[in-house]
Amino acid sequence: MTMQGVQGEERTDLTKAESREIRRRSLRLLSSLVKPIRARLGIGFVAITIAQALRVAGPTLIALGIDQALPAAMKNDWTPLWLVAGAYLLSAIVTAVLQSFFIQYAARTNQNVLFDLRQRIFKHTQRLSIDFHETYTSGRVISRQTNDLDSIKELLDSGGNEMIAGLLSMIFTGIALMAQNQGAFGILLISFIPLGFLTRWFQKNTKLEYRKTRVASARLIVHFVETMTGIRAVKAFRKENANQEKYDVLVEDYRYVNARVIQLFGVFDPGLKMIGNITVAAILFIGGSQVIHGDLGLGVLTASILYARRFFDPMESIAMFYNAYQSAGSALEKISGVLEEEPSVPEPANPVALNNPRGHLAFNDVEFHYANGKTVLPPFNLDIPAGQTIAMVGTTGAGKSTLAKLVSRFYDPTHGAVTLDGIDLRSIANDNLRQAVVMVTQEAYLFSGSVAENIALGKPGATDEEIVAAAQAVGAHEFITSLPDGYNTDVNKRGGRVSAGQRQLISFARAFIADPAVLILDEATSSLDIPSERLVQIGLQTLLAGRTAIIIAHRLSTVSIADRVLVLEHGRIIEDDSPAVLIAGTGKFSKMHKAYRDSLV
């Protein structure tokens, strides 16, 4: 099993090699995120370095105060005291100002990284092909962009700045200690041994557990999103209890792994403290005996103790950062996996320009099957001259939508090529292709936002007049104006504010305004009543003039406006001729048409 892209994403038991590969991948992502902000990082680093250095000077100043200024003051010489205390105050002010500057500065940097990452994932998931989305599920994509990003955000704002500050503080404290009291410093060095072991233990254990939390939280989100999306069916079929049971299990799984990592941290953090405190006591002992032997001033001893204590002070925030880092690390693993996925319908490297497309479509030896195997469209050839209106009919599941999706390049044929004006679709730039070919999909999805916005999606920047004109052309204007805010009415999520037929009309208007050379309508009128459908058909007749169109419909009324009818069965085109000829014949279409006529009243 490989770990390429999102494969094996739910596995937690990675082999060493796989782990390494994944780590490399996340690091690559991380470094690409950091690259643009290197300069900023540099400035921030300088600020924080000065702040920490000044801060670390504190105990030394106190030591000076006790060892130098105090004896001087005893002799009534107050100048050293003034100097020392003044220096202390000054360094306090500078530290605080710099530190606060650093925090704001770091926040800006962090937010920029986050913004960058957010956009990258968003854009990338939009770029990925339909088949990726079909297998990966929306819930997971959402989870990557919400929960996983949150944990990176947490890393950035909980830890980043404090960690750097803390590390620097430790380094400076160490240096200061070394300068003043080598014995104490030696002890500090020794304390690194248990520290290292503890950290290693923590790292090893959390890595695994954090991977589990990512998987568990994604599952939770997937289930949550699915329930909320299908809430009507959930209620109507009394699925609430079964849902709740399943959800409770998922919540408990998530809680359990979460508790595990928190517990690990709950040992790690006190462990650090313990090491720190033992070190302080040891330094106290060494320092104390040095003082007894007269090798050390009291002030220096104080400073050593303060330093030793301060040395371990940032440990907690570093540990927290490290913790967040581990968590974000697993999130980054998953995110980098998604980013590593390549669209199976790739953008051409050397696109051929498609200027003023006429709309001549051709299928050459095209064969297609979905990833899971069974051939949906056995090899076939089909030529659709520019400007022709094709009606496609056939039993459900015959492959009509599939064929349409090949034209709009949701998928690439597994064999052969689809061409537009003689150019293979695979060598036309995506934007170029989308201008030329537009499909109204079987499900009329509306985005939350106003009716106008939804229509304008077909042509960003469309004027109000254009929007109204498009709505009028498909017969949607009337109902839209009767909505509470007319064109500005929010259609709610998935267009729940309007009826099914109204949704179809709006998506139809959306295609109308896009004005493509090739228009594909996949059962775009299936939920419409007959009068509305009639209106749409009148609109279609003007719309389709001079355009290539593929109209998939079960209602044969649509067929009347077609130049040519294709009958599809089990993926094969079994009839292909003008409607009049087919109706007059004895084939399948003629039978269907007869049944249809009979059903009319």
């Binding site: 986050l114 998931t125 077909g458």
Partner: protein, 585 residues
């Protein structure tokens, strides 16, 4: 928001945290004890330094060092204890909140779900709840423990010398002022940021669910642009938050350090003038060092508290949302279900309908006798789907009654009502589960034969040819099916539920003529014994039903046999007949 507001809001979470409270309090105790041990160390230092200053010996040194060691070890143990006490219960509280939120969301009526953007719900169930957990098991505990520590520490400082103590006390005054202002300012921004995060989640979700439309129009980049605008607003809010934090942090760092600087001066002077021992001075600085972290932590603890408060508010916005479709207090049950469905002067209007607009449904009267099937006809947007939704109380009527076997649907439990009525919606919703589970959703105990029959009626035999037959996973996490295949499964599902009443909303719209005819033939056997309300647009579907009801301007304006209506009703002809136009050709 004032201080009271914060406390009152946060207190609301405690009923959910009841079980965890004892351990959280113990955790607080441990935290405090740990700090006290830390605070005690300087006291031993005092003796140690004083004894060193007066020519101490190793023998005197050792017990004191051991004491310091002991205190240090105890402090670490207390940290361990604190975490141990608090962490697991914290996760239980979070899980509990998460479950309640989900349960509530499932209970809330459709009208709520219509209104609420999906991302706002999602962000509540994920980000917000973990904020609350962290606050409970970390923020709250430390906030209280650290505050007490600071007060005690201040007292200890006073004990070294009142002047030194006073310096610290006076210096800390600006912190209190800043802290108070900070709380107010931060809260607004925190709220904004969490709401914006929810909006962003909504954009994410819609862009994923609507991916096909975006692809079909090549609008991925366009959406990404919109997304960037939203993300940018969030970025700005986050920066404001950081600005506020940085602002208060200046004080939190500066004040103690400033006080130490002043104390350095005062302390040396005090020692020089023999008002204080060197040991006390050293211990004083050591104590001040111990207090450094608790003081600085106040900053992020304050912001954490505000974040938690906002999260709690957002949580309760859902929990407090009224469930206006509930089970009645006086439950009635249908002892012998027959399947009579009656609409009696039914009125309905959506909450956001403009005041000057009439109700969507204004007096629907319709009776479906047991076993009778009625087709519901009307133009797009006239309220057919809405009417069907009233039967299972997805919405409640705003006037009049819907009766099943003579009992108002509002007098039945929702569970029972929905077991008598099965629906098929306009858009076939399948869940991530096997074909079997999807079809048997409303009747999990059905026999194999019943399942087979339901699939046959819906002409969904294609499922046997799927890679794993009935066990094939479908829905989002499984195989994608064609539009007509999905619709047939949804139909099979409603048939398999074996209800007394079937409510089918345009159930054959995605089927081709042949399949439709077969489904109709098969459905007739079911419909001979089942009451059915079938929304239809096509004459072919209408013929499935015994009678036809015409919905027009919110009322049933005609009811009768298809042929009768066709002959007598002009509007009916207009809605259902395509002959006029056909004839014109």
């Amino acid at each position: 928001m004032n201080n009271n507001g914060t406390v009152a809001t946060l207190l609301r979470i405690f009923p959910y945290a009841k079980k965890a409270l004892p351990r959280i309090s113990l955790g607080m105790g441990a935290a405090l004890a740990g700090q006290m041990f830390a605070l005690s160390i300087p006291q031993f230092l005092l003796h140690l330094v004083n004894s060193l200053a007066s020519h101490g010996t190793i023998a005197k040194l050792i017990p004191l060092v051991l004491l310091v060691l002991l205190m240090g070890a105890l402090e670490a143990c207390m940290t361990l204890l604190r975490r141990w006490f608090v962490l697991t219960p914290g996760t239980h509280v979070e899980a509990g909140l998460r479950r309640s939120l989900y349960a509530k969301l499932q209970d809330l009526p459709i009208s709520f779900h219509d209104r609420w953007p999906s991302g706002q719900l999602l962000s509540r169930v994920t980000g917000d709840l973990s904020l609350i957990r962290r606050w409970l098991s970390f923020g709250l505990v430390l906030f209280i423990a650290n505050s007490i520590t600071i007060v005690i520490g201040l007292a200890v400082l006073f004990s070294f010398h009142w002047i030194l103590g006073l310096i610290f006390l006076v210096c800390s005054v600006p912190i209190w002022f800043r802290g108070y202002r900070f709380e107010k300012e931060y809260h607004t921004v925190a709220r904004l940021s969490q709401d914006q995060a929810g909006d962003l989640a909504t954009s994410v979700e819609e862009a994923v669910h609507g991916i096909r439309v975006l692809k079909a129009f090549g609008r991925g980049d366009f959406m990404a642009g919109k997304f960037a605008t939203d993300a940018d607003s969030l970025l700005k809010t986050e920066l404001k938050k950081a600005g506020l934090s940085a602002n208060i942090l200046i004080y939190l760092i500066l004040v103690p350090e400033f006080a130490v600087g002043l104390s350095l001066f005062a302390g040396v002077w005090l020692v020089a003038s023999h008002q204080m021992t060197v040991g006390a001075l050293v211990a004083f600085f050591a104590t001040a060092t111990v207090l450094r972290w608790p003081t600085e932590s106040v900053g992020f603890l304050l912001s954490m508290t505000q974040d938690a408060k906002t999260a709690v508010e957002r949580f309760f916005e859902v929990i407090d949302a009224p469930v206006d479709i509930t089970d009645p207090e006086q439950l009635q049950t249908i002892t012998k279900p027959l399947g009579r469905l009656e609409f009696k002067d039914v009125h309905f209007r959506f909450a956001d309908t403009a005041a000057d607009k009439p109700d969507l449904l204004r007096g629907v009267n319709l009776v479906l006798e047991p076993g009778e099937s009625v087709a519901l006809i009307g133009i797009t947007g006239c309220g057919k789907s809405t009417l069907t939704a009233l039967t299972t109380r997805l919405y409640d009527v705003t006037g009049g009654q819907v009766l099943v076997d003579g009992i108002d649907v509002r007098d039945l439990s929702r569970e029972e009502l929905r077991s008598h009525i099965a629906m098929a919606f306009e858009d076939a919703t399948l869940f991530s589960a096997s074909v079997r589970e999807n079809v048997l959703l409303g009747n999990p105990d059905a026999s194999e034969a019943e399942l087979k029959q339901a699939l046959e009626i819906a002409q969904a035999q294609f499922v046997y040819e799927l890679p794993e037959g009935l066990e094939t996973r479908i829905g989002e996490e499984g195989m994608s099916l064609s539009g007509g295949q999905r619709q047939r499964l949804a139909l099979a599902r409603s048939v398999a539920a074996k209800p007394e009443i079937l409510v089918l909303d345009d159930p054959l719209s995605a089927l081709d003529v042949d399949t439709e005819a077969m489904v109709e033939a098969a459905l007739r056997t079911v419909l001979s014994t089942t009451t059915a309300l079938i929304v239809a647009h096509r004459p072919s579907t209408v013929q499935l039903a015994d009678k036809v009801a015409l919905l027009e301007e919110g009322r049933i304006t005609a009811f009768g046999k298809h042929s009768e209506l066709l002959a007598t009703n002009a509007h009916y002809r207009y809605v259902i007949s395509s002959l006029d136009e056909e004839a014109a050709k």
